[in-house]
Symmetry: C2
Subunit: 322 residues, 2 copies
């Protein structure tokens, strides 16, 4: 009997990663193509699917492809489109699901990357037995996937879960969205960079980070410096955790989750980011929520989480019978 | 054939209101008893139900009572309990649903007052055809009922939707919950009172409100003064709307609702509160959410909304077959 799999696809600005994933989250034939190499979406899809078919054909596995799940910036679950995102080469509203249907006439579901991460966490990660949780992705920006009663919250228009653009600091840092003080300008891989630079300007302490240009500085360098006892780096994690924790407390007031998972580049710093975030989250929680909400690292941190999440999205649809 | 109704019960600190409500939201035999007159919950329930039965018996209607819905401070949907609230005379965890079952062995559902208001709005008010919306109750405090995909968000522990305790101002006003700067210390009937008193202290403008003691001042007096052009009152509405609007923009980032309904004492000020709130909400929204989210007054403002909401809660359970 043929083994049933879905295609999980993670579309990023530079690379598109894919894998064939069974219902238990085992991933086969993982690979990638360059997203940015295809200004025409149709030739992109043609190449993507022929690459996938090529790798499947070389194997002796008998696979039945049941559906396609996609995580993409500004991916809209309701419409199956990608809408006006500066992160991808294709402009305007791209009817991705419809275009994919021309290649595979099977169930297709699309959502944004943070929602896909939440779906992956629920099906294959640390949220397997949870119905109410939030995944916070701390990459270049801050993304969030909110799960309520076992379902990802999409909202009226498909764009729910933009916690990166909650105003964290009144008249704070300029955000890529045009507003000021958005949470992601503080709590993200690029946010902590900005905090380090502020501290380097404000304080006089020596720090190895003084040798590194803004462009070269990475979250990894900051966490390495913190591990080595660099005071600027340690203070940057404390400030980042304070702002993140305070805002997670507000998120708890909203949906009262069982757990909040941190995922992505900055989450790799582990306890360095968990500890101050937890402290300041608890400090700002209403009494009824205190010491109840688990703050955890993603259970998929070292896996191809975005591909698994995209696969989980469509497996979930297939299970529901959609 | 007997007419099918449910008992809708709104438990407040002073009064308990009730009504027998059919599936279309028509309410019969409305009445009330004193909540605070019964330190013993069992004698409270005995009196409540004998009062209700008494009024039904005097009529010639043939009624079939299908279920009981209750809205109460700190009412927990999952456990059917009222938990440790300072607003009621009964202390500790009160197993309200179990105690009620001794009187009526029919489906019983309990939730807090703001969630009941949201349920009422969805079944009988302005949100009839909506699946994603938020109801904000602006009374002594600020309550919120959040509906996602047609369901009230209860969260992991049944206490979701505490937007009144989102931190609106860092190190702001002391809140009854022990924290500082909670949204309800600014955006509520008592919040706008505090703002008026701050303005009376800060400014030198003459105002009729200078004649009224803090204890005597009501939201209605402030809105009456604003209608008469009182500058302090007008400014208080502007400030209240600014803080509320900014925080509603954050709520939109969370669940992307189709509409937000304002309800309760302060909402009776109508355009005085709607206009500045809308302005500052829009100003703080991400581009993708701008000019999409309706800010409306509750469609149940002049009705017995809490009783209707409690009734809607249990009708919804009966429809689901629970």
């Amino acid at each position: 009997m043929a083994q049933q799999v879905v295609i999980g696809i993670d579309i990023g600005g530079t690379f598109t990663k894919y894998g064939l994933v069974d219902i238990n989250g085992n991933s086969y034939f993982e690979g990638s193509i360059h997203t940015s190499g295809y200004p025409d979406i149709n030739s992109y899809l043609k190449n993507l699917f022929s690459t996938i078919q090529g790798s499947v054909k070389t194997s002796d596995k008998d696979l039945q492809i049941m559906g396609i799940g996609v995580g993409a910036p500004a991916g809209n679950y309701y419409s199956g489109t990608i809408e006006d995102t500066s992160n991808l080469i294709w402009k305007g509203i791209v009817p991705l699901a419809d275009l994919m249907k021309k290649h595979y006439n099977i169930p297709i579901a699309i959502t944004n990357d943070a929602n896909a991460a939440a779906m992956g966490e629920m099906m294959y990660g640390g949220a397997k037995n949870m119905k109410d949780f939030i995944v916070i992705t701390l990459g270049t920006g801050l993304g969030s996937g909110i799960v309520v009663n076992g379902n990802v919250v999409y909202g009226h228009d498909g764009f729910a879960g933009e916690l990166g653009h909650i105003v964290a600091i009144d008249n704070g840092r300029l955000c890529g969205c045009g507003k000021r003080g958005c949470l992601e300008t503080y709590a993200s891989a690029s946010g902590i960079k900005r905090t380090v630079y502020e501290l380097l300007a404000d304080l006089t302490e020596p720090s190895d980070l003084r040798k590194i240009s803004f462009e070269d500085l990475t979250a990894k360098m900051i966490s390495d410096a913190a591990i080595n006892g660099d005071q600027i780096a340690l203070k940057a994690f404390e400030i980042t955790g304070e702002i993140l924790g305070r805002n997670l407390a507000n998120a708890v007031s909203f949906s009262s989750p069982e757990a909040i998972f941190l995922f992505g580049g900055l989450a790799k710093a582990g306890e360095l980011i968990l500890k101050p975030t937890k402290k300041h989250m608890e400090k700002n929680l209403l009494t009824i929520f205190q010491n109840k909400v688990k703050l955890l690292l993603s259970g998929l941190q070292d896996k191809n989480a975005a591909v698994l999440g995209a696969a989980g999205l469509i497996w979930n649809e297939i299970k529901k019978g959609n």
